[in-house]
Symmetry: C2
Subunit: 125 residues, 2 copies
């Protein structure tokens, strides 16, 4: 059964007990990981229907069309799924910064010997 | 308060109600996303102490030293954290395939018009 899920051509996302799968968005151009969010079935359906990334906002408890207000739409180039189908990899063309802080991606700090160090500078002005 | 979390140098992972954060492992060489897993505080502590990726296995409910049995250890090059500190990006040097199917990474299928299509061929023999 597990082997079936891993090798099948059938797309059967394994929704968690919260109805979500993890979604990792990657920049199609640079390959950089832009952000990690979540999708429910509605978000996935909206993403497939529109070709633009939709997520489920756990904090706001609402469907979230990424970029609808900021303009930083993520156009879907390809969607990949992992072995056990509980995680999606979205290869996207972003129309703007993925991070709400204004940075290109959310992973702008690395763990150093004295705490977090900035990799990217502050929000674009 | 939110701005503090986003801009601080203090590393304060935002553990979910299940005590976990999402961890995305990326190949330091190719930049490819290898796998997505989870860490609890013990897994993070073990990762920092050893320089090798440790996760929390949700299915087995146990600390999981990646590669301890398979040999596919993931040596940590850098750890990045996202804006709200509920997700870690592990930049690693993998000593073998990240996926238990034997593939280099877990995202070996893409969603096509007729279901999933293999990007990578089957397990190495």
């Amino acid at each position: 059964m597990i082997a079936t899920i891993e090798e099948t051509a059938a797309f059967t996302p394994k929704w968690g007990s919260d109805g979500l799968v993890t979604a990792v968005a990657v920049d199609a151009g640079s390959g950089a990981v832009l952000m990690v969010a979540h999708m429910n079935a509605d978000a996935l359906a909206a993403t497939l229907a529109t070709g633009e990334a939709h997520y489920w906002s756990r904090s706001r408890r609402t469907l979230w069309h990424k970029g609808a207000t900021s303009g930083a739409i993520q156009r879907i180039i390809e969607i990949r799924v992992d072995c056990d189908q509980d995680c999606l990899l979205l290869i996207v063309e972003p129309a703007g910064p993925a991070c709400h802080t204004g940075r290109a991606n959310c992973f702008y700090r690395r763990l150093g010997t004295h705490g977090l160090e900035l990799i990217s500078e502050g929000p674009a002005t």
